[in-house]
């Protein structure tokens, strides 16, 4: 059997058996939910309902209820869209890219990170749809034969690329996630005793039986899906960035955008994974599976991507001066020193300076500090999109149309609402779905489990 170097920290703490793993994950699903879950779900559901109410109001009254004006005709809506898509990058990165790199630590976090991805992409997709004003003609974004000619969609437009990128990303992530879930649903199906639950999980498990050939196919599908999902992860946020980069607005028209957006997305996605997992490991008692080492690994990803983002910000600044284009230079001087200086400097502090604190090993292994930082990074990444979008628009070529953006309560309501819907979906997932990839975690138990590693080390010394 393949064995692991003793110097590597174990990924599963304590002495666990295969049955313990099943018990630790399926137990909370079988038993009554703790009171905290009901409290959190109620709060999230109230915010979600408020958001749905806001969206209904928005659709009935029109986009005029947002604070958009003639100069700033894209603001919180697209900021929220890009923010959510960015958050939705960590899940598939963890499950696909880290699978290709054979990172075993991904196995404890990929399931919940992918769930987060799917919910975040749903939230992201909401914004372009409601921004259309006429939600019911949303299907017009697809190239369907119609009564107008046929008048087709314009495949030269990055906005249409985005339609394809986001819908492909969403559906492929969903399928990837569900294929991994099927064997775990089968585990729940075979374990629970209540007839209602048994029925529910046997429908979800699609009759999975776990014979040798099925597992061979499972591994092949996981590998190939990871292979196609890896370029997909990078393409999605590249395409999102091209919504801006292919335009001629100073501040948007930069070739650095695709890699800069992708690393920003991974950065914010991992921060959101930390926010969710640090709470979940405590509430669901998953400390043996999502260890401090896991948190540390993710914080290392945050330093790397945060530093790439920092370099990108500085490069952008330098190039705006070096290009000699005065409009470009002004866009950046205005960002840093104009009326939105506070947004720019919040972004710089949260995204460039604060992640560097993770160079201290003590701090990146400190859970309370990591939680605090994950919130800071998410705030910073929201500001990044706000800065890019609003500060580039609010002062255009004609000073008579220079303007500020003032969010209305509808801007705030729709944004808060999506956060509510996101957390409601996530809490439902945590309650009813296996939050750990059972089959994957079991497969590394005897290689990376603490007691097995100690055992193997003892044998080597003899």
């Amino acid at each position: 059997m393949h064995s692991e170097a003793a110097i590597r920290e174990p990924l599963i703490l304590g002495h666990k058996t295969y049955h313990d793993i099943t018990q630790d994950i399926v137990g909370p699903i079988e038993n009554k939910a703790p009171r905290g879950w009901y409290v959190l779900t109620t709060i999230a559901a109230i915010i979600a309902l408020y958001g749905v109410g806001c969206i209904m109001y928005l659709l009935s009254k029109g986009i005029g209820t947002w604070g958009l004006n003639k100069s700033v005709d894209w603001a919180w809506d697209i900021t929220n869209f890009v923010w959510w898509v960015g958050i939705g990058h960590a899940g598939t990165l963890i499950s696909a890219v880290l699978l290709l790199f054979r990172q075993k630590w991904r196995m404890a976090v990929n399931r919940s990170a992918e769930a987060m991805t799917i919910f975040a992409v749903i939230m992201a997709g909401t914004f372009p749809l409601i921004h259309m004003g006429r939600l019911w003609v949303g299907y017009w974004v697809f190239p369907l034969p119609n009564q107008y000619g046929s008048l087709w969609t314009n495949f030269n437009s990055p906005l249409l690329w985005d339609v394809f990128a986001i819908s492909t990303y969403f559906s492929v992530s969903l399928v990837f996630w569900y294929i991994g879930l099927i064997p775990d649903f089968a585990t729940i199906r075979d374990k629970v005793t209540k007839p209602g639950m048994k029925k529910f999980y046997s429908i979800l498990s699609f009759g999975w039986s776990g014979n040798a050939k099925a597992w061979t196919r499972f591994e092949e599908v996981s590998l190939v899906l990871a292979g196609v999902a890896t370029p997909l992860v990078f393409s999605v946020h590249s395409v999102v960035s091209m919504d801006f980069a292919t335009s001629i607005i100073p501040g948007w028209h930069t070739t650095i955008f695709p890699p800069y957006f992708v690393s920003g997305a991974v950065f914010s996605g991992f921060a959101m994974v930390q926010t969710l997992l640090l709470v979940m490991r405590k509430v669901m008692k998953l400390e043996a599976y999502i260890t401090i080492k896991h948190v540390e690994y993710m914080n290392i990803v945050i330093i790397v991507t945060g530093s790439i983002v920092g370099v990108a910000y500085i490069t952008e600044l330098f190039i705006s001066w070096y290009s000699g284009v005065e409009y470009e230079s002004y866009a950046f001087i205005n960002r840093a020193t104009g009326p939105y200086w506070w947004a720019y400097w919040s972004m710089m502090t949260c995204n460039v300076i604060s992640p560097q604190i993770f160079w201290f090993r003590k701090l990146r292994r400190n859970l309370a500090f990591t939680f605090f930082m994950s919130i800071i990074v998410n705030i910073g990444m929201w500001f990044e999109r706000f800065v890019i979008i609003v500060t580039s628009l609010h002062r255009d070529y004609l000073p008579s149309s220079w303007n500020m953006f003032h969010p209305t309560w509808m801007d705030v309501g729709t944004f808060l609402g999506t956060i509510g819907i996101f957390f409601t979906l996530y809490l439902l997932f945590a309650r009813y779905f296996p939050v750990l990839a059972l089959n994957e975690v079991k497969s590394i138990l005897k290689v990376s489990g603490e007691s097995y590693k100690n055992e193997a080390a003892k044998h080597q010394h003899h």
Binding site: T168, A186, D190, W208, V221, N439
Partner: protein
């Protein structure tokens, strides 16, 4: 003589592999194994061929590439060419750079979904399908070898069982079918 199916239950995938090797080296054909996670290296022991799903995925992928290019050519070049901002859509090769993102996304879409659907059908895991694992513990912590006497005319059920007893087997169950 009634046909029998023998289930040898193990507690560890490595022990199961030892058991399977023992059976196969004695000329017993192993029908299948059931486990809570993939047992690496079991396929060559019990004679399972490599899956061709990756080839299927490639086929679905290139179908997607072709469909995307054909569709975009038809819609934007042939059927209704638009001139937007003085940049007319005249020929596929001229518009190709702008068509790359959608071509890529559609390739991935077709490869991933085509492969996923093929996988589901081949594995017989579709909504409403019944579970076929012989023992509910095989999705929890037990690893099971299935041997059928119908596949092994040269060996009696007792002979197979006594071979299995020599391996660290957890329990052996026999069933008529």
């Amino acid at each position: 003589m009634a046909n029998k199916v023998i289930y040898a239950v193990y507690e560890d995938p490595e022990q199961l592999k030892d058991g399977a090797r023992k059976l196969v080296s004695n000329g017993v054909k192993v029908k299948d194994t059931w486990s809570p996670f993939p047992i690496h290296g079991i396929d060559p022991i019990i004679g399972i061929k490599r899956t061709r799903l990756a080839i299927a995925a490639f086929m679905f992928g290139i179908t997607g590439t072709s469909l995307a290019l054909l569709g975009m050519w038809y819609m934007n070049i042939f059927d209704w060419p638009m001139n937007i901002g003085g940049k007319p859509s005249q020929a596929l090769y001229k518009n190709l750079p702008a068509f790359i993102p959608v071509t890529f996304e559609f390739t991935v879409l077709c490869a991933a979904h085509g492969m996923a659907i093929t996988y589901m059908i081949r594995n017989k895991t579709l909504p409403g399908m019944p579970a076929r694992n012989p023992d509910p513990r095989s999705t929890d912590d037990k690893f099971i070898i299935e041997v059928r006497t119908a596949d092994n005319h040269g060996h009696s059920a007792e002979a197979i069982t006594s071979l299995l007893r020599e391996t660290p087997v957890f329990e052996i169950n026999e069933r008529q079918y």
